[in-house]
Symmetry: C2
Subunit: 333 residues, 2 copies
Amino acid sequence: MGLDDAVVKPHERLAEVLAGDLDAVNSLIRARMASEHAPRIPEVSAHLIEAGGKRLRPMLTLASARLCGYDGPFHVHLAATVEFIHTATLLHDDVVDESGQRRGRPTANLLWDNKSSVLVGDYLFARAFQLMVEPGNLRVLDILSNAAATIAEGEVLQLTAANDLKTDEGVYLKVIRGKTAALFSAATEVGGVIAEQPADTVEALRIYGDALGISFQMVDDLLDWQGDVGATGKNVGDDFRERKLTLPIIKAVAAADADERAFWVRTIEKGDQRDGDLDRATDLLTRHGALDATRDAATGWAETAKEAMRRLPADPMRDLLIDLADYVVARIR
Amino acid sequence: MGLDDAVVKPHERLAEVLAGDLDAVNSLIRARMASEHAPRIPEVSAHLIEAGGKRLRPMLTLASARLCGYDGPFHVHLAATVEFIHTATLLHDDVVDESGQRRGRPTANLLWDNKSSVLVGDYLFARAFQLMVEPGNLRVLDILSNAAATIAEGEVLQLTAANDLKTDEGVYLKVIRGKTAALFSAATEVGGVIAEQPADTVEALRIYGDALGISFQMVDDLLDWQGDVGATGKNVGDDFRERKLTLPIIKAVAAADADERAFWVRTIEKGDQRDGDLDRATDLLTRHGALDATRDAATGWAETAKEAMRRLPADPMRDLLIDLADYVVARIR
């Protein structure tokens, strides 16, 4: 996140409050990504895990468990589980997207090879499942294994929806619920479940995670059109070049006249992209208000997240999570 | 398996005895590989799952559970779990090996693309974890999640050991325990666990599966040198071309003189392979008795499997599993 705030950012305040727990998570991650027989595994994992990720997802689990008064040891296992699933997904995503850069560094598939990224990703998935079994809580297993299936389904849906101008906002929402929100909501939900909270508390945590994840991904998709490499580690226009139908472009296509539609058919469906096309695409998005509309949608989901969190009793941790929802959207203001 | 026996083969007799259970497994597999949102998933899965695989691994779970007198419904879930893990592994293997053919048909990565194989494999892994959670048995979850980690670790070890003439029989055993025996042994072990058998029975089933898997993989590696495409669906010499150090080649390298060693360095380490090299390699393997020694090793592991099974009380199902161990080796006699 590249916002240059004078105040300390909410995810940094969360990291301070949760510092002891986060240390335990990092130790557990390092211990479990080791492999006695295959040193390639920790090499590849460490490249990504130590690369300065914000540990946003594991912090959601830790914060939810603490907010619910949990005082056992297993929120650490579940936070590490969530980070392993996230890292495995990134390794496979970079293979699928043929990416060369993530978080401003060369990707693992570029530094080693696609084979290592696929297999080390599989190893981290398996490690995640070992970790999630340890608390011995079947409901937690249910939530996290369902999330893993939803993530994979969302990724396949994104793959088949790419290049297809028929992709509408409904399909887009399914894709981002899968690729992003499913893990956010599982991360917050299991924090409540492990703390044995009543159903309405767990449901409020789940809704918070789901809405936060949706808002987070919409902001990411907007930054792909108007961000800078320093802030996101991505190049502006990557989604256009990869012919991914994210919300800004879906909104512009829906408003296109015949001439504009021909442009989208050529550049997105047929993949025939020429010099100046990215500029024209950005111009069309701006002209139809697609970037503003995406910003509004992201803000709306952040509000949904905050409302869900406000159902829980007042608590400094609760207020930090509310601030986090604001901050996710503030990246684009 | 291409052996042309006059008698009915043990895996076919197993399939007859377990016909009702296998139907239930196949129904469950079809139901769970469906995806409401992403039709690409059942397309890719069905290509592999319906391709005439022998369902050997799920049959091991069903047979173990039945042998132990299990009469609940969950052996079917665990058998489907095992088949999903196996199928997911095959999808990822074909990407890693850049294969074009499996079971005599074009691979999914060739028919669709590597992206679909990676993501649909992830989906099947996730589906496997959902299925294994359903029986609500934490020990089963422990065994199967450990197997998944061992499989992935074995695959990475195989990747890093490829092209490396220092790979010895100890590393080879770790690789095949990971890529093959871990799932065989988990398949038989969970059959005993779900039937709530005493520790020595469960351990005998685990040893049977482990030894059967090792024998099975050694036979596979031998058939790569002397099989025919009809019997294996693979081309003779694939492992040589892919510079994989399997047992026959490890034994020949260990016995090599200076001139032969230079040949292996050029063809395996440097990957400089020319016309006639496969013939020379086969000739070296034969001359040093590496093929016979591999056959003997496979037979030895089959004997270990049979001994473990003989610890269990006499039962027609037990005898079928003993016959199966003989049959695995008979493929190369």
